[in-house]
């Protein structure tokens, strides 16, 4: 009989304290996410010091809950995988040090996982990955296009030069007076709207897969300013729709272009903004037209969670990747291949 391999995943890179047990890299046995949204809401965004304080309060509870729900004891585990970076440094340090202490106490190998590799591997929990594949990672901290030719091999072909897509969403939400977190509300307003304001799209150089959203954000602010100076009022729905269309257009066109150029077998989307209905619809339709399979995990696996870290950790563990107790939280960690 083949032995099952269980990995404990831990994630604390931003404002969710999360732990999960994943079986054989593909099956979620438990996934606990303690979100700080309620506490951070009053500050209108994530305050790093508050995030760190809340992680310390939650960390052992969340890990215990993940093990209990999975009915797993530490000796059943193969390894502990933890988000090493990128993210908020103070927040990362809580997960990293908890993981190191847990690994030492239970004499388990320790594996430091890149947060984006985690988002990509969230898909492995739904569908087997087929290579080459193209991953679009869109969240509050990231906007990246990554080509993978095999497990553990990442080629970053495009990224944002300024704001991340999710960041732009949150800023525009604030301009529209929507409460934090505003991204999902902009999406909702946009979907309800019959009309949209025409905002610019930043295509950058013809051959570039990079993104830029700060110009769009300024265009929205200027638009509001101009109307209000003339004593008028903006229609938040029309603005949301126009903004969303601009973001989704650029993301979709560049993703489809890259998918064709790299002749990929599948395209996957990941990250918090991958939960955006407008983006999902646009990518699904555009890729269907090209006959390229497109997968996006359910919302709970798009936003930050520890199952994705355990899933990536499993592949790293299989490849013999190990960290030691000198592991540090790395806020600016680059995405590196392990294969």
């Amino acid at each position: 009989m083949k032995k099952d391999h269980y990995i404990l995943g831990i994630e604390t890179s931003c404002d969710e304290t999360a732990a999960s047990v994943v079986k054989n890299g593909t099956e979620i046995v438990s996934s606990i996410v303690s979100s700080q949204i309620q506490q951070q809401k009053q500050f209108g965004g994530v305050v790093p010091e508050i995030a760190s304080r809340l992680h310390v309060e939650q960390i052992t509870l969340v890990i215990e809950e993940a093990l209990r729900e999975a009915e797993i004891v530490p000796k059943d585990l193969e390894a502990v995988a933890v988000t090493e970076g990128p993210g908020l440094v103070g927040a990362l340090l809580i997960g990293v040090n908890a993981a190191k202490a847990f690994a030492f106490a239970n004499q388990l190998p320790l594996i430091g996982v890149h947060h984006i590799a985690g988002h990509v591997y969230a898909n492995q929990l739904m569908h087997p990955m087929e290579f080459p594949l193209l991953a679009l990672i869109v969240s509050g901290g990231h906007t990246e296009l990554v080509v993978m030719k095999s497990h553990g091999s990442f080629e970053l072909i495009g990224e944002t030069r300024d704001d991340a897509a999710g960041e732009a969403y949150d800023k525009v939400a604030r301009v529209l007076g929507l409460p934090y977190p505003g991204g999902p509300q902009v999406d909702r307003l946009a979907l309800e709207s019959e009309q949209s304001i025409d905002f610019p799209r930043a295509w950058l150089e013809a051959d570039s897969y990079d993104f830029s959203f700060s110009g769009l954000k300024s265009a929205v602010i200027n638009y509001k300013h101009n109307i209000e100076q003339k004593g008028g009022q903006i229609d938040p729905q029309h603005v949301a729709a126009g903004f969303q269309q601009s973001v989704v257009d650029v993301l979709t066109v560049k993703t489809v272009k890259a998918a064709k150029q790299f002749d990929v077998k599948q395209v996957i989307a990941a990250g918090g903004v991958a939960a955006n209905q407008g983006l999902r619809k646009s990518l699904t339709e555009a890729l269907q037209k090209e006959g390229i399979p497109f997968y996006v995990p359910p919302i709970a696996l798009c936003t930050d969670n520890a199952a994705m870290i355990a899933a990536a950790g499993y592949e790293m563990w299989k490849s013999g990747v190990r960290s030691d107790s000198t592991m540090n939280g790395r806020p600016g960690m680059p995405l590196k291949s392990w294969n």
Binding site: E49, S52, R53, E57, T60, F104, A105, N328
Partner: protein, 233 residues
């Protein structure tokens, strides 16, 4: 009974193991090292050098603050994770009180102090009463000037303890003159063995899960929030 002690509350790092009332090993460094990088390796090292496996540890004592927010959190996170997963009791000890232990032979007031920037300090006042260190002024975050004013009124010799004392030595001397005493650098090293020694006489943490650092200060974001919201009084 085997105790593991950890102090990462400020830039120095100290870890120790006490077995049956005897200090087996203590490793302390005043180097400005990154605790996230160095704390767990130091814990592993003292265990390895004493041939003690993690499961043999009976109790964990940690310096709970005040101090550097990040430093305190790293020590507390390690300590609470170890205590929880090993199923052993956890003890939190004031970082100021454990530093005051360095002056336990001094006959007078003890004033451990950490710099908190902008002329503020984390400080407290203790004195020895028999074998025990008793609190004269609680651990707090305060303006140095305020602290010195209070000390002046006590009209007793005071021993200042901590590596940050040198940052404020001039102001202290100006305010307190001969009342202020400064010890050699050897007295300024926070010691994890002191954390253990105090933990032995302290109450264990009610719940490992809800154990959190004693920051002694709310965050800037919370201060601003209170300022924005007028009170209903």
């Amino acid at each position: 009974m085997i105790w593991l002690g950890i102090d990462t509350a400020n830039s120095p790092l100290s870890v120790a193991i006490v077995k049956d009332g005897e200090l087996l090993i203590e490793e302390s460094s005043m180097m400005k090292v990154n605790h996230s990088l160095r704390a767990m390796p130091a814990v592993e090292e003292v265990c390895r050098k004493t041939s003690i496996s993690p499961s043999e540890i009976d109790a964990i004592a940690v310096s709970e603050g005040p101090g550097s927010y990040t430093g305190v959190r790293i020590g507390v996170t390690i300590a609470k994770t170890l205590a929880w997963t090993l199923g052993k009791p956890l003890y939190g000890v004031s970082s100021l009180k454990s530093l005051a232990m360095n002056g336990q032979l001094y006959n007078g007031l003890l004033c451990p102090l950490f710099d908190a920037r902008r002329s503020n300090v984390y400080s407290a006042i203790y004195r020895m009463a028999g074998e025990e260190l008793v609190s004269v002024m609680e651990d707090q975050h305060c303006a140095l000037a305020e602290l010195l004013e209070q000390l002046k009124e006590m009209k007793e010799p005071i021993l200042f303890i901590g590596e940050d004392v040198k940052l404020h030595e001039q102001s202290i001397r100006e305010q307190l003159g001969e009342q202020a005493k400064f010890a050699s650098f050897a007295v300024n090293v926070p010691r994890a063995s002191s954390v253990i020694s105090l933990a032995m006489r302290a109450e264990q943490a009610d719940s490992v899960h809800s154990f959190t650092p004693q920051y002694r200060r709310i965050t800037e974001a919370e201060v601003n929030l209170v300022k924005k919201e007028p009170t209903n009084e």
